[in-house]
Symmetry: C2
Subunit: 378 residues, 2 copies
């Protein structure tokens, strides 16, 4: 056997998991996480003491939440995750994603790791500056339904911009289909929103969906930039977390990013498995460069709980080294009637996203959007 020769720093990142089981079972699950996420090798067969001491995860504490639910904080050597987002995700939740009864509920990365990530280019404050909107909640809506021609979508975008909406995003189902081409859409909708801005003096931004295959995603981001779009809609569940990170880091693009949860719901949908909405949308989307993260607010078409929404808003803004705080974007079947309540729930640091319901109010979309905007000045 070779003599022990590892000399790692001893610095650790901490991940906290809620474990479903008795105290004894939770202890065993926590021990298992320490092994599964690092050496993935029978501990009794590891002959090198330096590997046991320096590579294996370590249980930092286990607390009892209920008789069958425990919370374990586990420290992993920072060097196992290295400097790459893909490997960080792997250490945090790679293999254990396959095991039931484990839900990741928080992450604490040391300063030395956070420095490796640029995070959101603008963050919540930067986005406020771009929009010239202090203190109040920002307003967002989507152009839809899929199937409308770009001329129709442009007409809708113009009306929303004219009425006072801050951010107008593509429906996430608009890609580059035969009935709705990407470049034509970007040109027309950017032009429509710019025209409204000239008339209103507002700074509304159009955010096209650039979620696309690897060979296309950078090209669409560049087209969005070239045609003067105001941001990028990206679904990291479809393109991969690191693709979003790459887009956010790209100085030649330099546009704010709105993260969309498509396909990522399976991480959050069962309360005993996966990753909590707070960690997924609040921390991981943020670390991977989203300036704002869309998620389903409670009481709409989806099933997040008020506690999950509150935790998400907290994790999206809590201190993370130099990584900027981002906007939570509660959505998913929200209505104008709920604006006051949502504002009370999230306070003013939020982007309110209302889609279909905006088509129900007022004689015109402009009026409807204006009612949405009015609700912010009350």
């Amino acid at each position: 056997m070779t003599a022990p020769s590892l000399s790692l720093s001893g610095e650790r990142l901490t991940a906290t998991y809620d474990l479903t089981g008795t105290a004894k079972e939770a202890r065993r699950m926590a021990e298992d996480i320490c092994v599964e996420q690092t050496v993935e090798f029978p501990v009794d067969l590891i002959e090198r003491t330096d590997i046991k001491e320096q590579i294996l995860g370590e249980i930092q504490r286990i607390d009892s939440l209920e008789s069958h639910r425990h919370r374990a904080a586990i420290g992993f050597p920072v060097e196992t995750a290295g400097t790459e987002l893909t490997q960080l995700l792997n250490v945090l939740f790679g293999n254990i994603s396959l095991k039931p009864g484990i839900r990741m509920v928080s992450i604490d990365l040391p300063e030395s790791m956070l420095r490796r990530y640029r995070g959101p280019r603008f963050g919540a404050n930067g986005l406020r500056q771009l929009l010239g909107a202090r203190k109040r909640p920002l307003l967002c809506t989507a152009v839809k339904p899929m199937g409308l021609e770009n001329t129709e979508l442009a007409r809708i975008a113009y009306a929303f911009a004219k009425g006072g909406v801050d951010l107008i995003k593509d429906d996430h189902g608009l890609a580059d289909q035969v009935f709705n081409r990407f470049e034509d859409r970007v040109k027309r909708l950017t032009e429509a929103v710019n025209r409204a801005n000239q008339e209103t003096g507002n700074r509304c931004r159009y955010i096209p969906n650039i979620t696309a295959p690897v060979h296309e995603v950078s090209r669409r981001a560049a087209l969005a930039r070239e045609h003067g779009a105001g941001g990028l809609l990206v679904a990291p569940g479809l393109v991969g977390f690191d693709t979003m990170r790459h887009l956010a880091d790209d100085d030649a693009i330099g546009l704010p990013i709105l993260g969309h949860p498509a396909l990522h719901g399976s991480f959050t949908v069962h309360p005993e498995c996966g990753i909590s909405p707070g960690v997924l949308f609040g921390v991981l989307y943020r670390l991977a460069g989203a300036d704002a993260a869309i998620f389903p607010h409670y009481g709409g078409r989806f099933t997040f709980t008020p506690d999950e929404c509150r935790d998400l808003a907290e994790q999206a803004t809590h201190p993370m080294g130099a990584i900027r705080p981002i906007f939570p974007v509660p959505a998913g079947g929200m209505t104008l009637e709920r604006v006051a309540e949502m504002r009370q729930f999230y306070g003013d640091d939020v982007i309110l996203l209302i889609g279909g319901d905006l088509h129900r109010h007022g004689d015109t979309l402009i009026e409807s959007a204006a009612r949405f905007a009015e609700a912010m000045s009350q």
Copy 2:
């Protein structure tokens, strides 16, 4: 309002979902999927009949499995998914991933869509040809534990190759860490396996893990190719499905791909949510270019059921246009003792992956690997 003007083909792809709920609830859930995955817009507000007729999903059938479990087949217009893997995933499971009680259990893509995908470059038969191994199960193992120097990993790889293993992969935790650099690892392990091959006359292949950030993953694939590695280990959960597809399609690389399930477990871990292992590993990994898909066999460290494993093996090989059948790679705490049983379960068209347990048998790793290989000739 604009006059109806869509003229789509009417051709549909079909996705089948298991829905948890009464017959009435299941019907409502199925109707909801038709809307959520396409227009994502209140149907009562859609004024255009062409959009209702041509864009919305349609329920093809609903069958009752149990009183609280129903199976719904839903057809989506092929044009909504277009020609891009990211948008196909979005239509199949984007937003509904956020809703509980929906599990996608099969996908049926028409020939016109399948033609857009190249799929696995080699597939099961191509991999057999590369390895010169007819009919018998292939043998795979992993070099680990993380923390060993590359010289040590090379020594282990040499022993496994010498003993008769077909495929030697990196542990998926080996990335490019300060204690284990990627390029040095690829050079040393390729050399070690080649040396063993010269001595045995075998065609063992070393498969480095190239899972990495966007800006690195192609570079590592190219380095693997340049240094003569025998394949690529890719975790699409970490890099994104389409990144794997892109690597598989790259003629300049041209190496077989072994798909690893890291981070993707959250899709399969709860039986009432997410995506069945058969669809995830058997169909989606295959469509995205993996020649073989690693997953946890039942009875090991994870909790897949025998039925799920059987369905996975079936979906990995069932007819999919010109998309090649691939190898299932049952793994996750498998032992030499289970080889006969696994062979009986899967038949001979399987890659058996045994990791840590190979270190428990025989006086040397060569002997241990030889026992693994022997089990195939019985």
